[in-house]
Amino acid sequence: MSAALSMTTAPATPGLATAADPILSVRGLSVEYEASRPGFWSKPTRVQALRDISFDIRPGETLGLVGESGSGKTTIGRAVLRRIDTSDGRILFKGQDITNVRGEALRKLRRHMQLVFQDPYASLNPRMRVLDIVAEPLIVHGIVRSAEEARDQIGELLRLTGLPRDAHDRFPHAFSGGQRQRIGIARALALKPEFIVADEPVSALDVSVRAQVVNLLQDLQKELGLAYLFIAHDLSVVRHISHRVAILHSGRLVEIADRDTLYENPLHPYTEALLSAVPVPHPRTQRARKRLIYKGDIPDVAHWPTGCHFHARCPHATERCSLQVPPLVRKAPDHQVACWHR
């Protein structure tokens, strides 16, 4: 275990001297939740949602974070934004340790990192005008005193996110799902953050509208130099938008690599299974692909197996896999994998 720790806590990009310093570094992050009590008098059980997560995000880069439901994707997003407490590990934002930042310092920090939500219907207050919604972060952070004062600034944000000029004084119900997501993005951009966590930002949108929002996120990144942590379960969208991709399985990172390496030369058996399960929307191509369909279910967060969490479904699993956790090991300058057999 100590060997595993030392390997994963090493800087994630020692080979790349040219790479800019990461905007966000996560080292050995673990998160525990208190779960239900088995009986009234007994102590609550603790559920380990994330274990020993380490990754970097460089300025202007998109890291795609992929995992199935219950794998802990959203928990990572919430932890790096300091919305939940960590039980172990460190989070560094622009070199500063923010793991235990609290109070006023945390509030200041939040100007630099923002969140875009999944559901554009639930994340906008239906009783607020668009102007008030987008101005709220500016008011909270004391940059302006009223929404009216920020009207011009918000007009610019609405233009940037492709909303109609007269959107200011309308209410969210007047907008379609795609436009609502643009409002959510405009709100996230109001404080001019450098880093945005986008948690499944396009999953609730229809296909034709999804492309609009994906294109917008890419345009904004080019224009404003934003770094994204793009959380998604859709591997096709992730390939399209990400520079690097991390695969999360049951609370552990199993593979991180630059995008093309991960998609064209995956090493972890789980990544292989995941990729082969995604249908390609082209019948001839799809028929020609080899499919790996592994039996069994995703392990439940409250009853994680010992050893590698994937060993019950893995065709390569040996006894070692069911006993020891494989550490995340660097196989190439930008390719890390956690598997005993690769």
Binding site: E68, S69, S176, G177, G178, Q179, D206, V207, S208, V209, R210, A211, Q212, V214, N215, Q218, H233, L235, S236, V237, R239, H240, D260, Y263, E264, N265, P266, E272, A273, L274, L275, S276, A277, V278, P279, V280, P281, H282, P283, R284, T285, Q286, R289, R291, I293, Y294, K295, D297, I298
Partner: protein, 342 residues
């Protein structure tokens, strides 16, 4: 092939469904034509609100107040289910010869009754089996849908099963009466991708062994490509294009289909930018007089103000467009060299 098997199993003709709402009448279906033959797999593709699910509900007789069938006909093996003594006959057909599985297996299963009892109820009610006969058949059905340890599972409640297992139970229930047509309404949308692959493989396997006809309702073009022979694309309550899957993906005729295919990121794509269909589908409170896609269509012209009929474009393919098969999204290359995927 004899005449009987040549005849379509299900025919939907000029079907119109309306819903009374406080805002006025919503024209959910505006004349849908559809037919499916024995053993065929048809995909009904569209975005939310396009009328895919309403079509399935109409076939299953599930349109209830405030909705109503306002026109058209549904025929099962040549006989109307809406006219004459059709509604009475339909009661025996629906649930027995035609079965439906829903998107969300948790809300379609009774949480207070064991899996075995729920499937058994279908057998006792529709096939007049005794409790003991049903119990044996339930175990066979659970086995057939790939649920391990059937006797143990039959005694469990829905909450004890994972999402994929629940969907398998729904499928077991649907095939309990050996239907000829299975309508699957977004059967895998709520599932993770590796579980989705398992369920799709199960449906394909059952289709083969039971000689089922399948109507698969989905918004996911990837799912279509893996499973279906024929595709019907819906937009704003109408079918805008239908054709053989291979052909339709290779050379889509309708601008909407073209846009849909190219706005969907592919696992193997290297496109820098997705096609983005600007705007949103029209409100069905006041559906447009002409082509419903006209406001979003890049090649629309004056005559698109009149409704184009669903007409044959080339052998086996029809489209409702005045300018079918013309490239609508010129600025983006039609097909970049696909990137390899594992």
């Amino acid at each position: 092939m004899d005449a009987i098997s040549e005849m379509p199993l299900l025919e939907v003709e000029r079907l119109q469904v309306e819903f009374d709402t406080r805002a006025g009448i919503v024209h959910g279906l505006r004349g849908v034509d559809l037919s499916i033959r024995r053993g065929e797999t048809l995909a009904l593709v569209g975005e939310s609100g396009s009328g895919k699910s309403v079509t399935a509900q109409a076939v299953m007789g599930l349109i209830d107040v405030p909705g109503r069938i306002a026109g058209g006909d549904i025929r099962w093996k040549g006989q109307s289910l809406l006219k004459g003594d059709g509604p009475r006959r339909a009661k025996d057909i629906r649930g027995k010869e035609v079965a439906l599985i829903f998107q969300d297996p948790m809300t379609s299963l009774n949480p207070l009754i064991t899996i075995g009892a729920q499937i058994g109820e279908v057998l006792q009610r529709h096939l007049g089996m005794t409790k003991a006969q049903a119990r044996i058949r339930v175990l066979e059905l659970l086995e057939a849908v790939g649920i391990p340890a059937p006797p143990r599972r039959a005694a469990q409640y829905p909450h004890e099963l994972s999402g994929g297992m629940r969907q398998r139970v729904m499928i077991a229930m649907a095939i309990a009466c050996e239907p000829q047509l299975l309508i699957a309404d977004e059967p895998t949308t709520a599932l993770d991708v590796t579980i989705q692959a398992q369920v799709l493989e199960l449906i394909a396997g059952l289709q083969e062994t039971l000689k089922l006809s399948v109507i698969l309702i989905t918004h996911d073009l990837g799912v279509v490509a893996g499973l279906c022979q024929r595709v019907a694309v819906m937009y704003a309550g109408r079918i805008v294009e239908t054709g053989l899957a291979d052909d339709l993906f290779e050379r889509p005729s309708h601008p909407y289909t073209q846009g849909l295919i190219r706005s969907t990121p592919r696992l193997d794509d290297r496109l820098e930018r997705l096609v983005s269909i600007e705007g949103a589908p029209p409100s069905l409170l006041a559906p447009p007089r002409g082509c419903a896609f006209e406001p979003r269509c890049p090649i629309a012209e004056a005559r698109c103000g009149t409704e184009p009929p669903l007409a044959i474009v080339h052998a086996g393919a029809s489209a409702a467009c005045w300018k079918p098969s013309q490239p609508a999204w010129r600025d983006v290359p039609a097909s970049a060299e696909p990137a390899p995927v594992s």
